[in-house]
């Protein structure tokens, strides 16, 4: 196959890739016949003839893309343009921690141990992750040794220039956070033209004992850009991991988010805000696997759907027999602004332990009329009151975002999305 010429043949990953190709060849792309893909069809995005390895290197000036960065604070940046690393736009480091490229990690001996221990250890089983494993050539590599507080957030940005008519990108990230360390990561995919882009991303995160990982995904892409995000998180005892996903744009966005709790007293947080319109589609497919006792998980997903937008929430919580004293909470609340918008929401609880607290709830509705009257009686017109309530509904998830500048940015994006133009400052 052609990519054998492009990708490292002699690395330890070679066998893994060969195996992944077999898995993908056997399974192919998922179809609606599969339960997990019942409400999301990839047909409309698979009809393009995607270029898998962009032919030319494209450059961007910082000023062209500055607005996609959280630029008002000091951060590490790992930036890719059409799947290729841009050293010009990146700020990596090897000073005490490694924030660098996946390709160098895969090729250099000093990273060999980490790669052998962690690469493709949890991103296995499904065909899209296998496809990524087979084809990916680049991504972010983050390794934080123990007892390090990484003060600067790390931004992973993928730009597609649209210089080719249709591009398929396969970014691959590996995040290994050792004992008692703390890291904050922001990931964003952005296409700069209306040409079709399909990104099939895989991120593996390993949080060791007492590690803290806060991961933020900003999904606000163009109407012809689609994203399949496959994120796998392995947590050890007393670690605390959170993933916030803000989905405001894109053609089809599918988030496969999987948490595995391999230790006691683990805390996992999964939160998301989806605000979409037109014919956009966002699908959150989550899994929290409670394996050991005394752990918690908190899921809170909010969605606002206008026009003919469609949403899916499929949240699975598995509590193994040994996982006594588990606290697992799941909430999925939705507002349908238009009567042509759709949300399919399905909580799935599989509980094998008997001493647990698990709750789940989903709501689909319109705005609270008593709240509307309250706001209007204070002189806030109907349209603004409606916007304000939607803003408040979504904004609520922002409380747990720990980077103030990111919080302010998301807040602005939400206000803009909803059309609230009142002098808000947070």
């Amino acid at each position: 196959m052609a990519f054998e010429n492009t990708i490292d043949v002699d690395t330890p990953v070679h066998d893994i890739r060969s195996e992944a190709i077999k898995v993908f060849e056997e399974q192919g792309f998922p179809t609606k016949k599969q339960e997990a893909w019942k409400y999301t069809s990839l047909n409309s995005i698979l009809k393009h003839d995607y270029s898998v390895f962009p032919k030319e290197e494209n450059a961007l000036e910082y000023r062209e893309v500055k607005k996609y960065f959280i630029h008002d604070i000091d951060t590490y940046n790992i930036v890719f343009i059409d799947g290729k690393y841009s050293s010009h736009l990146s700020q990596t480091t090897h000073d005490g921690i490694d924030v660098c490229l996946m390709s160098s990690a895969l090729n250099k001996p000093k990273y060999r141990l980490i790669i052998e221990n962690y690469f493709n250890k949890i991103a296995t089983g499904d065909s899209l992750s296998a496809l990524n494993t087979a084809f990916s050539s680049e991504g972010a590599y983050i390794h934080v040794p123990k007892n390090k507080l990484v003060e600067k957030p790390i931004q992973i940005l993928h730009f597609s220039t649209g210089n080719e008519s249709a591009v398929m990108l396969q970014p691959r990230n590996l995040v290994v956070i050792d004992e008692n360390s703390h890291v904050q990561i922001i990931e964003r995919h952005q296409s700069l033209t209306d040409n079709a882009v399909l990104t099939n991303s895989v991120t593996e995160i390993f949080a060791a004992k007492r590690a803290i990982v806060d991961y933020y995904k900003v999904q606000n892409d163009n109407e012809n850009a689609s994203l399949i995000d496959n994120t796998f998180i392995d947590q050890k005892q007393e670690s605390n991991c959170s993933v916030h996903t803000f989905s405001f744009g894109g053609k089809i966005t599918r988030n496969n988010l999987n948490f595995y709790q391999n230790g006691e007293r683990i805390d996992s947080t999964l939160k998301g805000v989806t605000i979409i319109e037109d014919k956009q589609h966002v699908d959150h497919n989550t899994l929290v696997h409670h394996i050991e006792p005394n752990c918690e998980s908190h899921q809170d997903y909010k969605g606002i759907f206008d026009d003919k937008a469609t949403g899916v929430f499929n949240g699975k919580v598995v509590v193994e027999k040994e996982a006594q004293k588990t606290n697992a909470f799941q909430a999925n609340n939705n507002i349908l602004v238009s009567d042509k918008a759709t949300i399919n929401t399905k909580p799935q609880l599989e509980i094998f332990a008997d001493d647990v607290k698990c709750s789940h709830g989903c709501t689909i509705g319109q705005l609270d009329e008593s709240a509307m009257f309250y706001l209007r009686s204070r002189g806030i017109p109907e349209k603004e009151a409606r916007a304000l309530l939607m803003y408040a509904f979504a904004n609520n998830v922002l409380e747990s975002v720990k980077i103030p500048e990111l919080k302010a940015r998301i807040n602005k994006l939400i206000a803009k999305k909803i059309g609230v133009n009142i002098g808000f400052e947070l």
Binding site: L375, G379, I422
Partner: protein, 250 residues
Amino acid sequence: MLEIKNLHASVEDKDILRGINLEVKPGEVHAIMGPNGSGKSTLASVVAGKEEYEVTKGNILLEGEDIDELSAEERAHKGVFMSFQYPVEIPGVTVTNFMKTAINETRKAQGLEDMPAKDMLKMIREKSEMLEIDRKFLSRSLNEGFSGGEKKRNEIFQMAMLEPKLAILDETDSGLDIDALRIVANGVNKLRSKDNAVVVITHYQRLLDYIVPDFVHVLFEGRIVKSGGKELAHELEEKGYDWIKEEVNA
């Protein structure tokens, strides 16, 4: 200021108000008392413009202008304010942002520019001090997790900020301890002037020791069945509402 003429209103085909007549002049304080279910809160909501209630007969005039067909926000822009018996919790919107929005939307409707941020802050500081409201409280989500007393104090804070012509206080005394009651009542009294009017809706006479009414009306089965001076409130407190019911039935 406010004239209500033969007002009938219903909700879900159930008649609640059955011919209310009331005139409130500038500078006056009116108290509306009555047993539970007599229609007091409905009257407040109908005047404030709640859409669930249907006015089937009669008129509501504000400064001579018929406001029946106006939306709640349009009435607010004309100076109508209702302090809610059960203020709604709105997570995600802070008290300060809510107030800014309400004031600037009202100003916009009146053809004015936004209030300069400096003036807004000054006003917020003055009015919150008047009601002994902690500054931290202003950056909390509106009514979320507020105690009963905090909610009511916050209602009067909003009144102070919006400076309405007509304020209707719907059971503002319920859920207040004596200290909070005094603070709230002092706040209302400070806001009184010869140009505005207050309608106090209450079940008990207690609040009326602090906000002294010029007139007291007794509402029963959707009608005002008795009106008098402030001594009527004392009489009701002593004797309860049964004698009113007997009078009406006789």
